[in-house]
Amino acid sequence: MARRSAPEVNAGSMADIAFLLLIFFLVTTTIEVDSGIASKLPPPLPEDTPPPPIKEKNIFQVIVNAENRLLVEEEDMDIKNLTNAAIAFLDNGGGTDPRNACTYCRGAKDPESSDNPKKAIISLVNDRQASYKMYLAVTNELVRAYATLRDREAKRLYNETFSSMTNRYSEWPATEKESPEYLELEERIKKVRELFPRNLSEAEPQNRE
């Protein structure tokens, strides 16, 4: 004898409906790119401001030409060596009088190179015809130089890398921003930033003949 059972709802077309929705979302999806190299532009200057006096030795000149070649301090350089050259320059600490001396630098103390990291400026000049990917790679390498040095100092002072400090800072729960730990972290980040401020100057691009 056949057993009687309640008739089942036909779910065969459920898959079709779901597929339809799935395909719609597949097509409209763009996985978002939401990170980038942050930078700050200098505010607009009045027309006839004289440039501030900066000693030649405190400037690290990086030039990118129209053929995407790199000229660092008048010398041809491969981009692989750029970070190390920038670190050597920033960390040099060649200043001798107490006002200029750098107590935490571990560089070569070459009197011909930068006095201390607070005065050291990296000047990036690029040709208008240079390609963006080269420009970004150079910027990336220079930012890496600062990041390496900040990590080192943060490690020495607080036994934690600078990047992990900033990570913790940005992921701090919004409800606990008044806590003393948060303010302390903020203070520490500021201090390390001051030791190696990012003085990255971008001149107007020029077309060199």
Binding site: A11, G12, M14, A15, A18, F19, L21, L22, F25, L26, T28, T29, T30, I31, E32, V33, D34, S35, G36, I37, A38, S39, K40, L41, P42, P43, P44, V64, N68, I79, K80, N126, D127, R128, Q129, A130, S131, Y132, K133, M134, Y135, L136, A137, T139, N140, E141, V143, R144, A147, S170, E204, P205
Partner: protein, 161 residues
């Protein structure tokens, strides 16, 4: 007698597809959650370069995006083959950058105005010249926080090809 009936049903049973909807729904939910509707229809080529010293961008409501790149083939007739700027969903001249940024800024909440960030999405093969012009405009518009939006990866590998 069941002993003999067995032979009759020897054909391969159909695969049970009852769980197929479940699988598909699972995929569906994943994509629904991961989906970001594209606000701007791109009219230019926009292949972002790689970089590894990246920071997360600010929240979306604080970000203004400017695209730079060569017009895509469909638009090359109208706009030429050199780099152009796309603001919102249309290609615009450089002189419109300030107005665009200011309009966007005025639409933001009072608190977000100071933290506004301009995300520059520049095609990796474009020349730097136009980017510099845009940055100059941004300086004049007092939009000083910028970000070169890029994909995470080794920048040196960009340069090889």
């Amino acid at each position: 007698m069941s002993k003999f009936n067995k032979k009759k049903n020897a054909e391969v049973p159909a695969v049970n597809t009852a769980s197929l909807p479940d699988i598909v729904f699972m995929l569906l939910f994943f994509f629904m959650v991961a989906t970001v509707m594209r606000d701007d229809e791109l009219q230019i080529e926009n292949q972002l370069p790689k970089a590894n010293q990246v920071e997360k961008l600010a929240e979306k409501k604080k970000v203004v995006t400017i695209y730079i790149g060569k017009p895509s083939p469909n638009f090359a007739k109208q706009y030429g083959v050199t780099e152009v700027i796309q603001l919102g969903d249309k290609i615009s001249p450089i002189s419109d950058v300030q107005t665009y940024v200011n309009t966007k800024r005025n639409a933001m909440d009072e608190d977000d105005k100071d933290e506004m960030m301009v995300s520059l999405k520049v095609d990796q093969n474009s020349q730097v010249g136009i980017l510099t012009d845009v940055k100059q405009e941004l300086r004049d518009a007092m939009a000083l926080k910028i970000s070169y939006t890029s994909i995470e990866g080794d920048p040196l590998r960009n340069l090889k090809n």
